[in-house]
């Protein structure tokens, strides 16, 4: 059942079309990540849901009912901003308790709810502190506790991790995921960090220039992107241009462009979208970690090893096949072996189910 539905939303600020016809449904209890480059309209979408902006056209439904007539304070949304916006003149306890003033609760229930959240967020003992006396991670927990206290219908997170350093960001994003799972609160998480989106979301919506590019599970998004933008934005990938020479229900044969004239077998499996017809130009997405440096797989390519990058956990091999540049990923243990291959020609190979056809960008 869908909890929140956005129908054909448009919003323009002056000459900027921030949101251009977005429709999507957030399911009850899920964590939906809204991801895209800065300026893509993801934060505007969040502010439209919260009610801080009014759409130029379109509809927003909470549980099937329009809430466009409601002020932000009537919508029962919880929101955590990038800078948390903790009230600096209130203690931790007062911050968390603030939203409970507007809910019909007895004093005892309020005290109990605050105590429950302090416990849940591991903030017990800090309730008298002022926000400026807390670490960044603690501030973020207070902001979450404050947003959750009045039991919102939906939790909106506006890049709550982007102000933190890398290590803390990873710890806290796991915490958010755990908490969201335990509480089952429907959540929309805005971020520009695709890795963060993949790591915590049940489903990910990718936005670009005010439009929704794709909405699917993290795995689907990574392995079967619907547009070249998504393929490039999510993870790293090699895009190989080519022409379809044979199209069957479960597989394609593609001739790669350039000097190689290689035929590639593409397994499309149970893909639901329409397959490109014979003669269509396509780009094949091949993820670096799916490349086998040997001739043990069905599709083979002759390449020249150009350079090698050692990155710690992994290493990257930069390859060239004619005009086409490719990146292959290696376990770092293999680095020294491949170091000796720089400048040499090698054969790489990959399985048909590890390539994915994209329509060429217009």
């Amino acid at each position: 059942m869908s909890c929140i539905e956005l129908q054909d939303l448009y919003k323009r600020f002056g000459s900027v079309q921030a949101v251009a016809g977005v429709s999507l449904a957030v399911r009850e209890g899920e964590l939906l990540a809204l991801v895209g480059p800065s300026g893509c309209g993801k934060t505007t979408l969040l502010r439209l849901i919260a009610g801080f902006e009014r759409p130029d056209s379109g509809e927003i439904l909470f549980g099937g009912r329009s809430i466009l007539g409601q002020e932000p304070q009537q919508r029962r949304v919880g929101i955590v901003f990038q800078d948390y916006a903790l009230f600096p003149h209130m203690s931790v306890r007062e911050n968390i308790a603030y939203g409970l003033k507007f809910v019909p609760l007895t004093r005892r229930e309020r005290v109990a709810r605050v105590a429950q959240l302090l416990h849940l967020m591991g903030l017990s003992g800090l309730e008298r502190r002022a926000p400026e006396e807390l670490s960044a991670g603690q501030q973020q927990r207070v902001a979450l506790a404050r947003a959750l206290a009045p039991r919102p219908r939906i939790l909106l997170l506006d890049e709550p991790l982007s102000a933190l350093d890398a290590q803390l960001r990873e710890t806290l994003r796991l915490e958010i995921k755990r908490l969201q799972g335990e509480l089952g609160v429907t959540t929309v998480h805005v971020t520009h960090d695709q890795e963060e989106a993949l790591a915590i979301a049940d489903r990910v919506a990718v936005m670009q220039a005010g439009r929704l590019e794709q909405l699917s599970s993290p795995q689907e998004l990574y392995h079967r992107p619907q547009t070249e933008f998504v393929a490039r934005f999510i993870g790293r990938g090699n895009l190989l241009p080519g022409t379809v020479v044979q199209s069957e229900p479960d597989q394609l044969i593609v001739r790669l462009e350039g000097a190689t004239r290689t035929l590639v077998q593409v397994s499309t499996g149970d893909a639901t979208s329409a397959l490109p017809p014979v003669g269509a130009a396509v780009r094949l997405l091949l993820r670096p970690e799916r490349i086998s440096l040997g001739d043990d797989r069905a599709n083979r390519l002759e390449c020249q090893v150009e350079s090698l990058e050692f990155l710690g956990e992994i290493s990257r091999l930069h390859l060239r096949c004619g005009a086409q540049e490719l990146i292959a990923q290696l376990p770092s243990g293999a680095t020294e072996h491949w170091q000796q291959h720089i400048g040499r020609r090698i054969t790489l190979s990959f399985d048909p189910q590890d390539v994915w056809p994209l329509p060429p960008s217009s």
């Binding site: 919260a50 009610g51 801080f52 002020e71 932000p72 304070q73 009537q74 919508r75 029962r76 949304v77 919880g78 929101i79 901003f81 800078d83 916006a85 009230f87 600096p88 003149h89 603030y98 939203g99 003033k101 507007f102 809910v103 404050r146 947003a147 206290a149 009045p150 919102p152 909106l156």
Partner: protein, 568 residues
């Protein structure tokens, strides 16, 4: 060998230069500010037998003086309230709404600061007086035989005039903080379910409180120390400590009585100023990075009662702010004769007359000439000394820098009448027998202007990248040459602003001047007051218009050169 000689000499010269840069201003302030004030306080706290609080306690036992004290506090409190009541909504309008002329109104909030208080007092008399525009208009409209509003020569009149002066201060402080207040706080509160009025009460107002308190504290200090307005609008019945000091010293020639009162006033003002500085420091700490705040247009959208309320407020404040100035301007060009108002240039001809006028006990032309030359001289002195201090306060860290800063900025918190009295007492006897000399007045004006020069020059110096001086040193330029050829040209806009402020402060100054003036040393503001006191409103208006025009010209100069500096 010459090489070696200059090598030994340069550090010495450098040292001498540095010492002069700081010693000269300190000597000046020491001789003409701290020494006279010490004398004043000493005379307030001593009798023939030595140290005593008797003179101060006698003030509290005198029922008339007790009344004056209470009235001063009362009018200052009410003026502060009125300034907040007017300034806070204005700050809200400037922050939350967009309307045509908003930038214009924003820059207009500096106008009261630049207007000589005595001209504002004149404007209030012309608008709100018994025979003023408002009462005459109401009488004509409702066929009344007597003026319906007795605003003038009352507490209300004083409070209204102080609100005219200080509401813009409150507005500037609050609007600056409001614009920097991240809208995320209010949005968080609304998302948590708080209705608009609760958001304002629980979130916005507490977060604006440091700014509001700073603005209100300044409004209180200014109202507490206000002299020309109370002197002109208070009539015979209402007197504040400032006016009482003037009366005792100049009219009753009772220096020691005046000194006791001034000592008490200095102590009270010192307390308030310290309080203000603490608030201001807290306010500065709360300033945040600006997140753009959403604004609503005043012109589009449905016209509800809320909007009508806003229009009414704008109209009422426009009346308060524009009417007095407009009245002065109109009055200077008109003469009423047998119920007919006609255009005339007579008043302007009168103020440019070189002959002696018994009404002001001087020639009006002489007062214009005096004002311009005093302002020129004060500008040169304040700019030189203030820039020297600013260079020392910005460029180097040293022990006691904050103490030095306090010492040189102290004239900001001083009552000008008390300063005038202190200088008067010092100048009547050796070693500084300058009484009756024009330099006495120029000294007083320079002291009052130095903090403003520092305030104008310092930000320019702080914005200057230290790399520039370092690059010049690395190329072989001495510190003196670096200052002269690199630093000073680059801070020219700041210097110009400081110079104009010094000029404007001197030419508008009346409180210290009236204590030190002599028949040949009359200035324009004192002339305005004397015309006013003898009910020569036309001549007072013409002189006021001239005074305002000169100041406006000076400020236009800043504006223009500032633009040029930005473009260049």
């Amino acid at each position: 060998m010459g090489q070696d000689g200059s090598r030994q000499l340069t550090p010495l010269l450098r040292r001498a230069g540095r010492v002069t840069l700081i010693a000269l201003p300190l000597l000046f302030l020491g001789l003409f500010f701290y020494y006279p004030l010490a004398g004043l306080v000493q005379s307030g706290l001593s009798s023939n037998t030595g140290f005593t609080l008797e003179r101060l306690t006698r003030i509290f036992s005198d029922s008339y003086l007790r009344h004056v004290l209470l009235f001063t506090v009362e009018e200052a409190l009410l003026s502060t309230l009125a300034s907040v009541a007017l300034g806070l909504p204005l700050a809200y309008l400037l922050t939350a709404y967009d309307f045509p002329g908003k930038r214009w109104i924003k820059s207009l909030t500096i106008v009261p600061f630049a207007l000589p208080a005595i001209t504002v007092a004149l404007g209030f008399i012309l608008v709100f007086g018994n025979n003023g525009a408002l009462n005459r208009g109401l009488m004509a409209l409702f066929h009344l035989s007597s003026p319906p509003l007795a605003i003038l020569y009352s507490l209300q009149g004083i409070v209204l005039a102080h609100a005219f002066y200080n509401a813009p201060i409150v507005t500037r402080f609050v609007a600056a903080a409001w614009e920097r207040l991240s809208p995320r706080y209010e949005e968080s509160a609304r998302a948590l379910g708080a209705p608009r009025w609760r958001v304002f009460l629980n979130i916005t107002l507490p977060m604006l409180m440091p700014a509001l308190a700073s603005g209100a504290a300044l409004a209180f200090i200014y109202s507490f120390l206000s002299f020309p307005i109370v002197l002109a609008l208070g009539g015979a019945r209402f007197s504040t400590i400032e006016v009482e000091i003037y009366r005792r010293a100049i009219i009753q020639i009772n220096y020691s009585g005046a000194a006791a009162l001034a000592t008490l006033e200095l102590l009270i003002a010192l307390l308030f100023t310290l309080g203000y500085l603490r608030l201001a420091a807290r306010y500065a700490r709360h300033l945040q990075l600006a997140t753009p705040r959403p604004t609503r247009s005043l012109l589009t959208g449905p016209a509800g009662p809320r909007r009508w309320l806003i229009y009414a407020f704008i109209a009422a404040s426009a009346l308060l702010f524009v009417a007095p100035i407009a009245a002065v301007l109109l009055d200077s060009f008109s003469r009423t004769w047998q119920d007919q108002t006609v255009f005339t240039l007579d008043w302007y001809l009168a103020i440019f007359r070189p002959t002696y006028s018994s009404l002001i006990a001087a020639s009006p032309l002489q007062s214009i000439w005096n004002s311009l030359s005093f302002a020129g001289a004060s500008m040169v002195i304040a700019l030189t000394l203030g820039t020297g201090l600013a260079l020392n306060l910005t460029r180097r860290r040293f022990v006691g820098r904050s103490l030095l800063e306090l010492l040189v900025m102290a004239p900001l918190g001083i009552s000008s009448v008390a300063l005038g009295l202190a200088l008067l007492r010092t100048f009547v006897r050796p070693p500084l027998a300058l009484s009756g000399h024009w330099i006495a007045i120029v000294i007083a004006h320079s002291i009052l202007a130095i903090p403003f020069v520092i305030r104008a020059v310092r930000p320019a110096l702080e914005r200057l990248a230290p790399r520039l001086s370092e690059a010049a040193h690395a190329l072989g330029a001495s510190p003196a040459r670096t200052t002269w050829e690199i630093v000073l040209p680059l801070i020219r806009p700041g210097l110009l602003t400081g110079a104009v402020f010094a000029f404007a402060i001197s030419i508008a100054e009346m409180s210290a001047t009236i204590m030190l003036t002599r028949p040949g040393l009359l200035t324009m503001p004192v002339a305005v007051y004397r015309f006013l006191a003898t009910r020569q409103f036309g001549a007072a208006s013409a002189m006021s218009v001239l005074l305002i025009a000169v100041i406006a010209l000076a400020f236009v100069l800043i504006e223009r050169s500032g633009e040029r500096a930005l473009r260049g």
